[in-house]
Symmetry: C2
Subunit: 204 residues, 2 copies
């Protein structure tokens, strides 16, 4: 999995491997406690969960939180990496299916996963294109997981040739963010929008 190549994940080092500094044992423990507390807090209270409450929950001072994660965004990103990783891994389960079904199946997982982590996903999407190395790598990982599924569908003729993976991800990301709709609604809209990938002008 490309994500693991990009940042090798020792269980206690996680994203920190991006930075060069070795770390003290207490710092490493607190880092883990903060990630765990943040994951729980964001899941319960959404991405608006206060950083002070996360620090309290982790049993560390607010200063410690800020040393590890200089901004809310940095913390969100760190928490998000594991979620992205599991989404990317799920692409491997689908290689047996026909090309179109594999593509749609993975995009459905994309939506379902984003629905679960809606608050985090919103923040993630809102920060795309900003100056964030970690985030860019997650995006790359999604690309590496999903693009082959699209390419295969395209080569099999199930998808029209002019369709770009980035656009597909953006389109699906947008659908992910629809707040009004039930999961069933979302699925129907997803399938509807994806049918656009198959459409060919009648004249062609």
């Amino acid at each position: 999995m490309s994500l693991e190549i990009d940042f090798p994940m020792a269980s206690s080092a996680r994203v920190e491997s991006l930075s060069t500094r070795p770390r003290r044992a207490d710092a490493s423990r607190n880092y883990d406690k903060l990630i765990d507390a943040a994951l729980a807090a964001f899941t319960e209270a959404g991405a608006e969960a206060s950083l002070e409450s996360i620090a309290r929950r982790a049993g560390v001072g607010i200063g410690t939180l800020y040393r590890h994660f200089p901004s809310r965004q940095a913390l969100l990103e760190a928490v998000y990496i594991e979620e992205v990783e599991s989404l990317c891994k799920s692409a491997d389960d689908l290689t047996e299916l026909p090309p179109w079904d594999a593509l749609v199946g993975w995009l459905r997982r994309f939506v379902a996963y984003a629905a679960t982590k809606r608050a985090l996903a919103t923040e993630l999407m809102a920060s795309v294109g900003q100056d964030s190395e970690v985030f860019r790598k997650c995006h790359d990982a999604i690309w590496h997981a999903g693009e082959p599924l699209l390419a295969r569908a395209r080569e099999s003729g199930a998808v029209r040739p002019d369709v770009d993976f980035t656009d597909v991800v953006r389109m699906v990301s947008g659908i992910t963010m629809i707040r009004t709709a039930s999961p069933e609604d979302i699925d129907r809209i997803l399938i509807l929008a994806l049918d656009g990938l198959r459409y060919r002008p009648p004249g062609e």
Copy 2:
């Protein structure tokens, strides 16, 4: 225009006609000042603009703001109504066009308008389905403006028969919220997704 039937808009009363209209002249003046200041502040600083800064900008106390708008949402809604109104009105300009072009043209305006007011739009979408009379009426107004365009396109055969206006609006709303993409990207994605409305399974 149905919106005007739903809430007649005297220039100094605006949304107030829905609820209890401010009776005293000073209250009415302050209401207008607050709406103007909020529109400017949200446009400049996004929907996160602080209510205290809006009150300062309007030259009134924070207490006055809260009396008129008991929540941030109430203020956002009031400001949003005029925006929705102008979008709905724009549907009238398109009746001369062929059905598909009219539908796509209006949905493009929908996206462009939402892009301009992105922060407000995000809040609006996030609050759909919540208990908000004003908001529901705006939604109705959009439906009354846009649904005939879809119906016409459906009847002309340009759009497949199983397509629902609510789903189309949701889909387009989702696309509206893509932060990563340039306006050109958004337009391409919109057209791609809308092609799903025209797709017919090969066997049919």
